[in-house]
Amino acid sequence: TRYTTTCTARAGGAAPESERVTKMSIMSYNGAAIIAMCGKECVAIASDLRFGINQQQTTAVDMKKIYKIHDHLYVGLSGLATDQATLAQRFKFRHNMYELRESRKMRPETFANLVSTMLYEKRFGPYYAEPIVAGLDASNGYKPFITGMDLIGAMAPTDNFVVCGNNEESLFGVCESMYKPDLEPEELFEVIAQCILAGVNRDCLSGWGGVVHVISKDKVITRTLKGRMD
């Protein structure tokens, strides 16, 4: 998605005093890449670790984009970093209140609907973040659930994979070719790790390593990936 905003950027070869006005999508200001995949009784969610400012500067290489809501529910957020971080706090708030009132944790589908509603509430002045929800439904035999959505909350649940970020086309491409249904947790890890590393290679705004969470019924394995640091 391209949401343009007018930004002033100093072009390399221009005269020092002059400033050129260029159009840049606000979603590309910081940079991110996130993939979630369904496996056999497990889900995996992976993201890159780059944090850049105004596209050109890389400021951190350990930027968290995937947040744990509970043991079987993770949410990854791409887009503008400040909105992504704020939304994560708001999701935690809402889930904590839910858990206190219901005395149980939210199902992934319920949470995804909550995310969708929260985003749509800001329909005419949105959060510039696109989330991916990945989890296992404890009330339904730990069935895997993943969905992606756009910045105003249009959900797209699926049983294979979802991607979001700056270079969606590239991520879609690698996932389409490498994904297979019903992979065991370890195989799923291999596939998603290769997909995220390959998918970010052609994108200057994401990369600098990655992190993968593989969520199964009784454990979550988190691994940090070493990739091309450029």
Binding site: Q89, F93, N96, M97, L100
Partner: protein, 252 residues
């Protein structure tokens, strides 16, 4: 229009007392007792259940104890529906704080906020005060384990051990003589149940009349991540009640 209500609920008497607040406190003295003890390993709350019926669904929310956040809990004495409103307000406050500061709410701030709300109902609006006293048990990084008591007037204080509800003076007397600041959490649990037994009417303490919870840390050095709220299990209550009962059985 509002003036007429004010003169009935939130104005001083000639002797300088707030009758409505005192009546609210009186209402609580008929409610089930709750007792709290603070130790260096955690804070324990125990309470006497007043509503007992085989038909009651006990698996659903507890009557006396409530979790406000991972690191803080309350015991309630008084009108439960009033308590529910305040508990919801406390939970929202705790979450808003965490959303803003990315850390658990400090206990005193939470207590203070709730008490400010209670105080509001003693000064304006023409509404009656909340008929609830709370015992707050919690932990935060700067002050460690804490126990607070609040009443309908909106006053609150920090305690090492205290009791609210029916027969709370008797409970306080026992606590004064038997509580020690360096008690272990285990000893505190036993003492809490013992104190409850002494304030209740019956000679034998039945486990289904008691509720207990604690905010404690599994590790010796408490840290944000490891503070847990925990309701006592039925088995634990049985053991503790058994101990309390056998301690005062007359030897034949």
């Amino acid at each position: 229009m509002a003036r007429r209500y004010d003169s009935h609920t939130t104005t001083f008497s000639p002797e300088g007392r707030l009758y409505q607040v005192e009546y609210a406190i009186e209402a609580i003295s008929h409610a089930g007792a709750a007792v709290g003890l603070r130790t260096s390993e955690g804070v324990v709350l125990a309470a006497e259940k007043k509503i007992l019926s085989k038909l009651l669904e006990t698996s659903v929310a507890s009557e006396k104890m409530c979790k406000l956040d991972d690191h803080v809990a309350v015991a309630v004495a008084g009108i439960n529906s009033d308590a529910n409103l305040l508990i919801n307000s406390a939970r929202l406050f705790a979450q808003r704080y965490t959303a803003g500061y990315s850390e658990p709410v400090p206990i005193e701030q939470l207590v203070h906020h709730l008490c400010d709300q209670k105080q509001g109902y003693t000064q304006f609006g023409g509404l009656r005060p909340f008929g609830v006293s709370f015992l707050f048990a919690g932990w935060d990084k700067s002050s460690g384990f804490q126990l607070y008591q609040s009443d309908p007037s909106g006053n609150y204080a920090g305690w090492t051990a205290t009791a609210i509800g029916a027969n709370n003076q008797a409970a306080q007397a026992v606590l004064k003589s038997e509580y020690a600041p360096n008690m272990s959490l285990n000893a505190a649990r036993k003492l809490a149940v013992k104190v409850l037994k002494q304030t209740m009417d019956s000679t034998i303490l039945m486990p289904d009349k008691v509720e207990m919870c604690e905010v404690a840390c599994a590790y010796e050095v408490p840290s944000e991540k490891h503070i847990r709220f925990r309701m006592a299990s039925d088995k634990e209550l049985e053991e503790l009640c058994g101990l309390a009962n056998s301690a005062t059985l007359p030897t034949s």
